[in-house]
């Protein structure tokens, strides 16, 4: 079964989504990620969606749920690299992903996580 790789960078986890997310893939990712946060004792999660041109409401909600789950497991989630068109679509859909930190790219996302809570 196809899976999205989760890379470990110190105490951070990096997920780069490069394929179109279908719902089952999203659920698998959520499960894998929560397991890895616990097993790797991660303190931060970076989700890179710079390759995604389309983010629908399901994926948007999945991301915001994943961030909430990670928070319970004491890891902060930063969503990085959102395309302008995706941002506009999500806002028009009324999904503003409150509670999820965002950054322009992975580098800025790492900085944000290292700086601790803003």
């Amino acid at each position: 079964m196809e899976r999205i790789p989760i890379l470990r960078m110190g105490r951070l986890l990096l997920v780069t989504i490069q394929v179109d997310m279908h719902d089952r893939l999203a659920m698998t990712l959520q499960e894998d990620l929560t397991n890895r946060i616990v097993s790797d004792r991660a303190t931060g999660v970076l989700i890179d969606i710079s390759a995604l041109d389309i983010v629908d409401s399901f994926i948007g909600r999945m991301i915001s749920h994943t961030a909430a789950m990670a928070k319970i497991l004491d890891a902060r989630t930063v969503l990085v690299g959102m395309q302008p068109a995706v941002a506009i679509t999500l806002v028009e859909l009324g999904l503003e992903l409150e509670g999820v930190s965002t950054a322009l790219n992975v580098e800025l996302g790492i900085k944000l996580l290292e700086r601790g809570k803003p």
Binding site: L79, A87, V91, T102, A103, L104, N105, L108
Partner: protein, 288 residues
């Protein structure tokens, strides 16, 4: 109407061509608001051209239905004249008068030619009048369409002109908004801002609304949408340039701006942006 025929008109115009032109020109020039040689010459040229075409067309066809293909040249010339007048800012009355003021001299010479045949004179007068009315309406129609095109183009230009995104400092963008925000403009503003954030890697965008005359719930909602979209991209927004009246309106309307950093002036917002990005500017007093 279209089967009414013109019999004598062509003869009259051909016979009294020069006199007609003079009479018409006198009338036209007396109505001219902006008197200069250039405008007069242009008028004379247009009038001569029109009379010439009218004679040719009346020679070809006896129908006065100007939708007829025989009238195409005349329609075209009138269209051009109306268009250029619409662009130069003539009033619709001035534009239509170009045609209508030919009526009077024409009647004079029709009377001279057909004075002894009252029945035919009445008939000719009626058809001529009908012909010139339709021609006049045609000029107004073209005039109106040209004006609409101008308005549309200006709207488009306004949309493009009024939304510059400028870089104030490393990682700091400013978006000075001028004029009322509607949905179409918000879309353009949002796209411009987000694209600029990607291009420059900015962390903070200052939206300055000094130039926005009024903020109602819709404008506020558009602003909040833009801010939310920028946040999703990883950039924070600061709203600046809120005038006292606008602050009052926002509170009275119950718009929630609590999650947004707001500052009274662009300068204050800039200081906050500098602090957040870790830059400093120092000011030293120098003696003059």
């Amino acid at each position: 109407m279209s089967n009414t025929k013109i019999t004598q008109l062509e003869t009259v115009i051909t016979t009294y061509h020069a006199e007609l032109l003079d009479g018409w020109m006198n009338d036209l020039i007396s109505r001219l608001t902006r008197r200069d040689k250039g405008a007069e010459n242009e008028l004379r040229q247009q009038a001569t051209q029109f009379l010439q075409l009218l004679i040719t067309t009346l020679g070809k066809t006896s129908s006065i239905d100007i939708k007829d293909s025989a009238w195409e040249d005349v329609r075209h010339l009138l269209g051009d004249i109306s268009q250029s007048r619409a662009r130069q800012g003539y009033s619709p009355i001035d534009t239509a008068n170009f045609i209508f003021s030919l009526k009077n001299p024409l009647y004079t010479y029709l009377r001279a030619a057909l004075g002894d045949q009252p029945l035919q004179l009445a008939e000719e007068t009626a058809t001529t009048s009908a012909l010139f009315d339709t021609l006049g309406l045609h000029t107004i129609d073209v005039y109106q369409k040209t004006r609409e095109q101008i308005i549309q183009r200006q709207q488009q230009e306004l949309l493009e002109l009024s939304t510059p995104v400028v870089q104030l400092w490393k990682n700091v963008l400013a978006l000075p908004l001028i004029g009322t925000l509607d949905s179409a403009r918000t879309q353009v503003v949002m796209e411009n801002l987000l694209q600029k954030i990607v291009d420059t890697g900015a962390l903070i965008a200052i939206i300055d609304i000094t130039g926005v005359p009024t903020v109602d719930t819709l404008v506020a909602q558009h602003l909040l949408k833009t801010i939310a979209a920028a946040r999703l991209m990883g950039a924070d927004c600061i709203i600046s340039g809120i005038r006292p009246q606008i602050a009052q309106t926002i509170v009275h309307l119950g718009v929630n701006l609590e999650d947004v950093v707001t500052k009274a002036t662009l300068a204050d917002a800039f200081v906050v942006a500098l602090q957040r990005t870790g830059s400093t500017i120092s000011h030293t007093e120098t003696e003059r």
